[in-house]
């Protein structure tokens, strides 16, 4: 598979394609996935000679030919903001391959900025309905038995650009960039619970961050959460990045991003939710009748085609469709793709490994006949949960909910090959 200069697979610049197609005389569509960047080597004789490379360094920067980054944004429709006014920064899903998000490109959402905490001065207080309250340091956590888990984290608001209307200038980074998948390493919550001797009657846990806002969420202590939650200090094999909770954070696989408390400094055990601002005023979903769903913690079955996707341009002929699917219920079981506006569907190939509560890469070959059409994906997970189409989803939720949007994402393609964000 060829990569264009910015690291984006499969889709190319129309001008360089046309030039190449003319020069080589091959079918435009096949050339489309093979074309190189602007300074392409047209024959092997044009490829620069080999030469000694850079000295070794303590870290490895990206190639200067790779242009890839997150995009800081504010609320829905509030884009291109000064970073000081941004509330989140979105992952460039259109430029990533595989299933793991590089740590520095993992989406970021914070409520009062990312503090850069000194681990020597950071403490975790575990108290409430426990036999033995504890103060733990980062070193204490690192000395305990550890586990690693590859899991997605998704902001509760991912997809919120498309609740009411579709701005056709949006990329998949804008529409779906608030989800990422990393490997997280740390101590099982269950291990800590046994250390402190949680009382059996305690059914909820307050998790609180050491950021200025002291973001705090009540976590229901279900069997699933007790089994799977981790107090993490590692991210993709290295210490957490400050933006992602250094030196320790909570990971609750499959549940909305906000409960995965970053900069974790307190766990308090109780027998009822605390009704913090974030679980009442903020991450609750307003229905059409004016009532709001509360503690809708699980992120639902979802998928999106990342290429071709909004703002890209494709050529007639062969195109490989690829994207990501994920579900807070478990593993992705099936992804289907329609290239005729949801009239007919074909199964996509799932790339291994297909892990529970992690993003799964899917792909499918497609020959575009050059006629305007719409492409869309839908996923089903191992529990049988199906990603809904937009009309069914809105019929159930109304369009004031703001959070937990998991409707199928449709991209329209016009006769020129321009790909645009549409509602359905």
């Amino acid at each position: 598979m060829a990569m264009t200069g910015d690291g984006m697979p499969g889709v190319t610049d129309r001008r360089s394609l046309s030039r190449r197609a003319l020069l080589s005389g091959v079918a435009a569509g096949v050339a489309g996935s093979m074309a190189a960047g602007p300074a392409a080597a047209e024959t092997l004789a044009d490829v620069p000679p080999r030469e000694p490379g850079a000295d070794l360094g303590s870290t490895s920067p990206r190639s200067k030919y790779v242009s890839i980054g997150r995009v800081p944004e504010a609320g829905p429709t509030v884009r291109n903001v000064d970073p000081a006014n941004a509330i989140n920064s979105k992952t460039p899903l259109d430029k990533l391959v595989g299933q793991i998000t590089p740590a520095d490109l993992h989406y970021e959402r914070s409520h009062s900025g990312a503090p850069d905490l000194n681990p020597a001065e950071h403490r975790l207080l575990v108290h409430g309905m426990v036999g033995k309250p504890l103060v733990l340091s980062v070193d204490d956590l690192k000395a305990m038995p550890s586990v690693s888990r590859i899991a997605f984290i998704e902001c509760t608001g991912n997809g919120w650009e498309n609740w009411k209307k579709a701005d056709e200038t949006l990329s998949v980074q804008n529409t779906h960039g608030l989800v990422s998948t990393n490997e997280w390493t740390g101590v099982r919550l269950k291990y800590l619970i046994e250390l402190v001797g949680k009382q059996a009657r305690s059914t909820w846990m307050l998790a609180e961050g050491g950021d200025a806002a002291g973001v705090a969420r009540s976590i229901p202590l279900t069997e699933e959460i007790l089994e799977e939650a981790i107090i993490a200090y590692g991210q993709n094999g290295e210490p957490l990045r400050p933006a992602h909770g250094f030196p320790m954070r909570l990971l609750v696989p499959g549940m909305e991003g906000n409960v995965n408390i970053k900069w974790l400094r307190r766990l308090k055990f109780g027998d009822q939710p605390w009704m913090t601002r974030w679980e009442t005023a903020r991450y609750t979903q307003l229905l059409a009748n004016g009532k709001a769903r509360q503690f809708q913690l699980r992120m639902e079955t979802n998928s999106v085609i990342t290429s071709p996707s909004g703002t890209m341009t494709i050529c007639p002929g062969y195109n490989r469709i690829t994207g990501l699917a994920w579900s807070g219920h478990g593993r992705i079981a099936k992804v289907e793709i329609s290239t005729d506006g949801a009239k007919s569907w074909n199964a996509a190939q799932l790339n291994a490994p297909v892990l529970p509560k992690a993003q799964t890469r899917f792909q499918m070959d497609w020959v575009w006949d050059g006629k305007p059409t719409k492409i869309v994906s839908r996923s089903v997970d191992e529990t049988g949960s199906v990603q809904p189409d937009r009309d069914a989803f809105i019929a159930l939720t109304g369009n004031n909910a703001l959070f937990h949007y998991n409707a199928q994402q449709t991209w329209s393609i016009d006769a020129m090959g321009a790909v645009r964000n549409v509602l359905s």
Binding site: V135, R265, K268, G270, M275, T276, A288, G290, A292
Partner: protein, 185 residues
């Protein structure tokens, strides 16, 4: 202290060796960390529940709250909780079922205790935790009065705040999956 994955303070190693009856003895609570004093816990134990548990001693009036609000809050939230550059705090009652819902403390928040908890933990944005307990009661009272929930001569304390019935108290439907969490272990 630098970040060293396998660093462990030496006194603990010696203690563990001295106490362990075998090399594979399971860890106990004080193999890791230490027991906090009650005074230490109190420093960090800032959460407030809907039943009022966690509210500190103290009180504040609507009138004093206006002064506190104008000194600490109005720059972001607007002169009377409307029209600021950050979240609107006042109004919107009756808007939740329309196509343009306005979610504020008055129209949306189900518990007044959450207001105290949130102001105490997170506000003012640049210096959270700097308002006194009395000032926090006062500014909560003022915001509630702007929303028509408290009269202008009201005063709040740890007994009266949890008794306030917010207009949208019954506006929330708990998700079926997490509405009845039973003891799991």
């Amino acid at each position: 202290m630098p970040w060293e994955p396998f660093a462990m303070s030496c006194h603990r190693v010696l203690l563990a060796i001295a106490l362990a009856s075998s090399a594979i003895a399971p860890a106990g609570a004080y193999d890791f960390g230490r027991q906090p004093s009650a005074a230490e816990i109190k420093l960090w134990d800032i959460d407030v529940r809907p039943d009022g548990v966690g509210l500190p001693v103290g009180s504040g009036s609507v009138a004093h709250g206006k002064t506190v609000y104008e000194a600490n809050c109005s720059a972001c939230h607007g002169e009377r909780g409307v029209g600021g550059i950050k979240e609107r705090l006042v109004g919107g009652q009756g808007s939740l079922a329309t196509s343009m819902p306005i979610k504020t403390v008055g129209s949306y928040w189900p518990y007044a205790t959450t207001l105290y908890d949130y102001i105490r933990r997170a506000m003012p944005y640049q210096a959270p935790g700097t308002l006194s307990d009395d000032d926090t009661y006062a500014v909560a009272a003022y915001i509630l009065s702007l929303n028509g929930i408290l009269p202008a001569d009201a005063k709040l304390d740890q007994a009266t705040l949890p008794k306030i019935r917010m207009p949208n108290r019954d506006g929330f439907v708990p998700d079926r999956e997490f509405s009845d969490v039973r003891p799991a272990r």
